[in-house]
Amino acid sequence: VAAADGGTTPRDHDGWMWDLTVPGNNDHDFYVQPGATAILVHNENPNSGCGPVFDGVDLRQAAGARSQERYGAISAGARDHVTMAVGTGIDEQGALRTVIGTSEEGGYLRPGVMLNDGEDLATGFGHAERDVLDFMNGNSIDAWVVGATRPICPECAAAIEDSGAEPATPLRGAG
């Protein structure tokens, strides 16, 4: 999937142009076939609730769902104290990577918490979201989305924005 080349700035062109109407229930994923190979197009609209798409997967939704799974894996007594973060991004080989972080020392995982095959664990000392971003930065992974099991604090929200990623779960104080 290629990155969209702009799209918000009207351009002047000579020749035929078409207005496209995509049928469906507010669909914004569709294929166009300019040649032999069909290309999946994803129109990302900040107001639509969808996130960046990689290989047909809405990464914001995926990170949000994985964060929810992490929340469910933490024992009830610890949920109000422990934050786990899930970051997804693309590495230098173009592969999708998922990084898990925790607010506890040394990347400590609570009993019963497991990682999926292929997931990386970010170890650090502090906020899980920033540990995830640090890990991704240190391993040349371009961060796309970061979610967490608890509302994302303003400092982590700023770090996510600075990295060029977007939050996959609610921010603290957001209505």
């Binding site: 020392e105 040394g106 400590y108 995982l109 497991m114 990682l115 997931e119 664990l121 000392f125």
Partner: protein, 145 residues
Amino acid sequence: MIGRLSTIAPDLVALLEQQKSEQLRRVAARAANLAIERTHLSEPRIDSALAALHEGRLGFTPERSAVQHLANELDEIAWDAQEKMEAGIGSRQDYSMAFRRARAAASVGFTLDSNALTAAFESVYEAQAAVADLDAVRVIVGSGN
């Protein structure tokens, strides 16, 4: 799925999987003892749990329940220290020590698991979190053979 110990030391998982039940029990007990020594954790519930382990009273025993309660209490202390640290009114050292003591208590609790392999995996994992010294834990796992 990747278990907790595999996230930090998959080689130890492989090593433990080859050990017999009595070796696993020995490793779990040594790891827990290392954790309580290094964190200077002294508490009657720890002593009772270790006595139960020595006498072979495993599973969901009162001693195990009591030491798990102790771990929960120590976790609460650690989280309180973490909040103070983040608010700028507490030190990282205070949080770290409280966290490690909670992990040491959890390590003791897991030694009483009725499954020897689970007891070893979980006690060793908690112990390495308590001592932050994976090499020392490696020595203990290696000594099980």
